[in-house]
């Protein structure tokens, strides 16, 4: 044994994405990747995919693992698919007329919201008395119909008294979990704070169940180590923090990808493009760090006040469904399907049927005949399937069938007529079709599965369009490059890309076209990226090569780039931010400043002199941040304190404690 080698510090990073769950076993100090694993994500239960990764990663002695860290789209998915728990939201001191006149009610992420009298003003002074009897009456009417309660009071970051009193009272009459707005955000946007509280409440049980399942899977493999969860800004928190503020995990997947790309490539200035199965995500690395969004994270049209990486996502990935639109133009995504090459590997008759279809002269084969449905798991014993849904299951019991055949058997002509909602939602049946992954099988660049099926499919498409197959491929990849390139420009400029129909933007359109496909005889235009592109995800090399060329820059593919996202889950630091607000205490009639309030989470203090208040606030913020960082698993955290002027005579004292995660052993 070589004694000069430091002892190995093994950490396991896991990224549970929309399509795949990736795992990376890494030596923490040398960044050396020791093992990787990929398994399919089970959307109905993310912990199944994670369990597969924990089981599948090759390691003789799993007990040597000193940390497990997970990034996951679980929260984002639960919100997008309405799988969060039911929430009642109490809005204390909010103006119903104002909310209604701007039609903001839809933004609260729950239909059960109630207005309660109370709230404070900008100066932290009580605007109206808290109507506790009304709050409790409303709690009583709704408590058996919801799973959690969220409370947001007007100007609660300035004075959370009403939120705290509400919590105390609600907890006395029912046992539901309660989330308070001021605990999640010190920002003053009242609608965003309410939305954040409601979303957090709806995700509490979802994340709790997830953590319990992951801990169990870890134990089954003998891993006894701290469990970390990645936040939307790429930093880490321990599982206990994550269970309390699940809303912070929104966008943790793409953030981890960006950090993983930086970590494995060592590039300090770069654009990160993560090509997944379902989406391609863009993030920017500046001075070695992932850039953070100015506004909070948003998901499914809900705007929150949670800090997240500056990200942009397009519905184009390796498994995006390729179809033809009404004008017979190639359309890619946003729906994700199982590539035909993969389906055909599992069911032999699919290849035969696809070949027969490709060779059929009359009636000419239609591209829509390439969509297959199949049973992807056992039928759950307890179900509330409709008669139509049960019939569809029976039809598919003998193997995958083209969708139009299933519809015909059910007596329908079109997918829009039939409702098989339960079967899709519970992932009982799956959809397969023609995808970019299939095209890679045809040209031989990436052939893990059955290329014969892919070849038959591309032949159906090309014949129908009366192109030859090479021409089809060329046009297809040009389309992909254009979609991604436009996304890059939109992401970096924050400007809308003109559509072709937008004739007012003739010059903009021409500039864009001529830069992507040089056509003009005299004028050459180019849009060049000053930084390299870091490619992440299995199809990155094939799909991004042309994008990099379009922008006259390099494509950097770090080692193990197909699982960089999982490496990013362990590469982040543990971070805790504590904010204290200081604002003036005004005399009656808001005339004189008679002192300063210092609002630190639930505690409030009055200090006469501003300088003394600032000194005190810095000390409290530093202490709180340090102890919270230690509790959430940071090793030797460092604290940076800054004072931000926040409006007239008001200050925000921010302490940020950052440290590498503390490893077991």
């Amino acid at each position: 044994m070589n004694k000069k080698n430091p002892p190995e510090t093994l950490v396991l990073g896991i990224d549970a994405g929309g399509t795949y769950t990736d795992g990376v076993l890494l030596e923490y100090n040398t960044h050396q990747i020791i093992a990787t694993h990929k398994s399919l994500t089970t959307k109905r239960d993310f912990s199944i995919g994670i369990e597969n990764v924990i089981k599948g990663i090759e390691l003789e002695d799993p007990s040597a693992i000193q940390m497990v860290s997970i990034s996951t789209t679980l929260a984002t998915n639960a919100i997008a698919e309405g799988k969060g728990k039911r929430v009642a939201l109490f809005l204390i001191g909010y103006d119903p007329d104002l909310i209604n006149s701007f039609d903001m009610g839809k933004r609260f992420a729950t239909p059960h919201y109630y207005y309660i009298d109370g709230g404070h003003d900008l100066h932290g002074q009580e605007k109206a008395h808290l109507d506790l009897p009304d709050l409790l009456d409303k709690t009583n009417t709704i408590k058996n119909k919801v799973d959690a309660i969220a409370v947001s009071s007007y100007f609660s970051p300035r004075n959370p008294e009403h939120e705290i009193r509400a919590q105390n009272a609600i907890a006395s009459i029912c046992g539901l979990p309660i989330v308070l707005g001021h605990q999640l955000s010190t920002a003053l946007g009242s609608v965003e704070r309410a939305t954040t509280a409601a979303l957090n409440a709806s995700l509490l049980a979802v994340l709790q169940e997830f953590i319990i399942a992951v801990r169990r899977a870890m134990e089954h493999r003998g891993i006894n180590a701290p469990l970390m969860v990645v936040r939307g800004d790429g930093t880490l928190m321990n599982d206990e923090f994550a269970a309390r503020s699940p809303v912070e995990t929104i966008h943790s997947g793409p953030a981890a990808s960006a950090i993983g790309g930086r970590f494995l490539s060592g590039e300090d200035q770069a654009l990160v493009l993560d090509v997944g199965g379902t989406t391609t995500d863009l993030a920017l690395i500046k001075d070695g760090k992932v850039t953070i969004s100015e506004t909070g994270a948003s998901v499914s049209d809900y705007q929150t006040s949670v800090k997240a990486a500056n990200l942009f996502s397009i519905g184009l990935g390796g498994d995006s469904h390729i179809t033809l639109d009404r004008d017979n133009k190639i359309s890619i995504g946003p729906e994700r399907v199982v590539p035909l090459a993969f389906l055909s590997l599992q069911y032999k008759n699919v290849q035969e049927r696809l070949k027969a279809l490709a060779n059929q002269s009359w009636p000419p084969p239609y591209p829509r005949e390439l969509e297959y449905w199949y049973l992807q798991r056992e039928i759950p014993e307890q179900n509330n399937f409709t008669a139509g849904e049960r019939e569809a299951i029976d039809i598919l019991k003998t193997g995958p069938k083209p969708a139009i055949e299933v519809l015909k058997s059910l007596g329908f002509l079109d997918t829009s007529q039939v409702n098989l909602g339960n079967l899709w939602r519970e992932e009982v049946i799956g959809k397969s079709g023609f995808t970019p992954t299939d095209i890679l099988h045809v040209d031989g660049r990436h052939t893990p599965w059955d290329e014969e099926a892919s070849k038959a499919a591309i032949s159906v498409f090309s014949h129908y369009l009366k192109w030859d197959e090479d021409q089809f491929q060329l046009i297809f990849w040009e389309n992909v490059t254009e979609i991604i390139s436009k996304a890059v420009i939109h992401f970096l400029t924050e400007k809308e890309i003109p559509t072709r129909k937008d004739t007012n933007n003739e010059l903009a359109n021409w500039l864009m076209d001529n830069s992507f496909r040089p056509e003009h005889e005299q004028l050459a235009t180019r849009i060049a990226l000053k930084i390299p592109i870091i490619g992440i995800g299995a199809p990155a090399q094939v799909m991004l090569d042309a994008v990099a060329r379009t922008f006259y820059t390099d494509l950097v593919l770090p080692p193990h780039y197909s699982v960089a996202n999982a490496a990013g889950a362990v590469a982040g630091s543990v971070m805790v931010t504590e904010e204290i607000l200081i604002y003036p205490h005004l005399s009656a009639g808001n005339v004189d400043v008679i002192g300063y309030y210092l609002q630190a989470r639930d505690n409030r203090k009055e200090i006469e002199d501003l300088e003394a208040a600032l000194t005190e606030a810095k000390k409290i913020a530093e202490d709180n941040a340090l102890s919270a960082a230690l509790r959430s698993g940071a090793n030797n955290p460092e604290v940076i304190v800054e004072v931000i002027q926040d409006g007239m005579d008001s200050y925000r004292v921010k302490a940020q404690a950052v440290g590498k995660p503390r490893l077991e052993g």
Partner: protein, 214 residues
Amino acid sequence: MKMNKVDTKKAYQLLWEKITTLELAPGEILNIAALADELGFSQTAIQEALNLLVHDHLVEAPPRGLFVAGLQFSDLEKISTIRLNLETLAAQQAARNATKDDLVILKTLCNEIAGDTIELFELDQRFHQAIAKAAHNTYLADTLNRFYGLSKRLWFLALPYLDFLPSAVKSHINLSSAIREGNESLAMEIMQRHIEEFYLKIQQIIQDKKLILD
């Protein structure tokens, strides 16, 4: 004790509920691996949760094995003596210290209508917890809290033979108004009668039906 662990906390809640409702019967052997499988937790979480329940006197840990604590008839008297004294103390302190918010909470609980006997018991428990909180003495509230689990087991034992107890609701209303008026001695008196009535009833049923053979 690491009560902050997500899975331990949840496992504790689930097991507490199962033991206090007698779903896990007194004297039943607790197999950690089997419970972990059945409830979907890691064995560590189950182990830690059971340790906490040992603290609550709901689980017994002799040198070998773990089982649900047995129920002895003498427990009934011991528990009722402690509760009788602590609850009357809480009632007195609540009459002295209750805030406006506390009074609103008590009033809301009095107005609530229970649909069945189990709901009534839960409501009664909330009412007692609200009074303990209105006493504004953390140590008193914490101490009382530990007895709810033990009391609840005795109550569940008698449940099949219990009639709906509307008299409990009546004493809630009287107690609540005594606290509002700040009448300490009256609050103590009503509380004492309320608790005595409860334990007498339970005691009678347990004896008549021979639910515990000591």
